[in-house]
């Protein structure tokens, strides 16, 4: 193998490494990245939509967002839908208007790698 060919292969390998390397932060299962309302935040307007961003694309058909009051009562939510341009974003509309108080969002999602994950986070609404 000539020296220039070796150099070319090494440089190509480096390009590939950089391309792959820039994405190594991607994980396989879906975990919570951020949410609206923000995790643990206090909001002053009643949220109409609960939106969560995950670390991996999810299968909408098997992913859910539930909302509970501090007392454990479930609030009616519309079906969860993915952002058409970004399958890592899942949102569900809140039916009606929330009363002031503490709430807990519980999410359970199916990642495209066919594994389920779930979690929960609180927020409160104080007008």
């Amino acid at each position: 193998m000539s020296k220039s060919m070796t150099l070319r292969i090494i440089s190509q390998a480096m390009v590939i490494a950089i391309l792959f390397g820039s994405h190594t932060s991607a994980v396989a299962h879906a975990f919570l990245d951020n949410a609206t309302p923000k995790v643990g935040s206090v909001v002053t307007a009643p949220p109409k939509i609960i939106r969560i961003q995950l670390t991996q694309r999810v299968e909408v058909a098997f992913s859910h967002i539930h909302l509970f009051t501090a007392g454990g009562q479930e609030i009616v939510m519309g079906p969860a839908a993915a952002d058409p341009s970004d399958q890592t974003v899942l949102s569900a509309p809140v039916a009606g208007t929330l009363a002031a108080g503490q709430y807990e969002v519980r999410w359970d999602v199916l990642s495209v790698d066919t594994h389920r994950t779930n979690g929960h986070f609180p927020f409160s609404y104080q007008p």
């Binding site: 390397g21 190594t24 991607a26 396989a28 495209v112 790698d113 066919t114």
Partner: protein, 310 residues
């Protein structure tokens, strides 16, 4: 449920890898000088017979795998017998998008092969080969291969497909090689044909091993991420067992190439070296089975990268 899924994954991987690897074998090992028409016909018949049983095993395990996914995805223990759940898995998930085409092909293949076997048609290898390529490569899109966003999905998918295809060339090829060596010995076709097939297989095997190592390293980078994760997660540990079994396979292949093959070519007791070669090929197949078993387990575990994030 997890144990069942691991077993079904094992049968599925093994079956489609044999389907592809054994059917590719005659194209490189028996072509060219030194080949013999009788031998080619026999190996084609062998491939078609193997492919019939492999496609049946693949069909059954694919149906079972779908049932397991219906349970795991819906979180409902009865999901496997709920028509609506099965339908949602097939129509609304990335797994289903791939699986419905695999199921269709796996339904047609045993019917086609069974009909040919019953009618004693001249064995055809190429339909098996083409289906095999699709069945092996499409496994890349199921599970961890599907992870990532944007470009990295395609890079990971392509890499995974190369890894699986190269592994299948080796694992499935071993089965055909074993049969061919025995056929040549029993038909007393001479060392010339034997040496030809062995030399071709070892060349193709060498390229396959290079591809397996290169794509495997990239994959490890994707799913493990760090040396620490390799040592301290179940995923990493199973992966190391897999790599160890793979290295045993490579060692056996080197032993065949550097020690047994020259012995076969030289004067002396050809039968003894042939026995040694057959035994070593069987040992290689056993390690190949262990590798595929660990792959079946890996797919159900959280990649090491996740554990480190958690």
């Amino acid at each position: 449920m997890e144990i069942l899924l691991v077993s079904l994954r094992f049968v599925q991987y093994m079956a489609v890898m044999i389907l592809f690897g054994s059917s590719l074998f005659p194209y490189y090992a028996l072509a060219g000088k030194g080949s013999n028409r009788g031998c080619i016909t026999d190996i084609a018949a062998f491939v078609q017979r193997v492919a019939f049983y492999a496609s049946l095993a693949a069909l059954l395990s694919a149906v079972g795998w779908l049932g397991c996914e219906a349970v795991l995805m819906s979180g409902d223990a009865n999901g496997y017998r709920e028509g609506a759940t099965i339908w949602t898995v097939l129509s609304d998930t990335e797994f289903g998008e791939i699986w419905r085409w695999r199921l269709l092909l796996l339904l047609l293949l045993p019917i086609f092969l069974g009909w040919r076997l019953l009618r004693h048609r001249t064995p055809l290898v190429w339909p098996v080969l083409v289906s095999g390529i699709f069945l092996v490569a499409s496994l890349a899109g199921v599970g961890h291969g599907a992870m990532g966003i944007g470009f990295s999905v395609w890079a990971h998918l392509g890499n995974q497909a190369v890894h699986l295809l190269a592994a299948a060339v080796w694992v499935g090829g071993l089965l055909s090689l074993f049969h061919t060596i025995r056929y040549i010995r029993n038909a007393a076709l001479g060392v010339e044909l034997q040496r030809h097939a062995l030399a071709r297989f070892s060349l193709v095997g060498f390229v396959a091993v290079l591809l397996i190592v290169a794509s495997g390293l990239l994959n490890t980078w994707f799913l493990v991420g760090s040396f620490d994760a390799l040592l301290h997660t179940t995923y990493g540990q199973v992966l190391m067992v897999k790599v160890a079994c793979f290295l045993f396979m490579v060692a056996l292949a080197l032993f065949n190439r550097l020690f047994v093959m020259p012995q076969l070519a030289g004067a002396g007791d050809g039968e003894a070296s042939l026995q040694l070669l057959l035994r070593s090929v069987v040992a290689e197949q056993i390690f190949a089975i262990l590798v595929v078993a660990s792959v079946s387990l890996l797919g159900t575990l959280a990649p090491a990268m996740d554990r480190m994030v958690m």
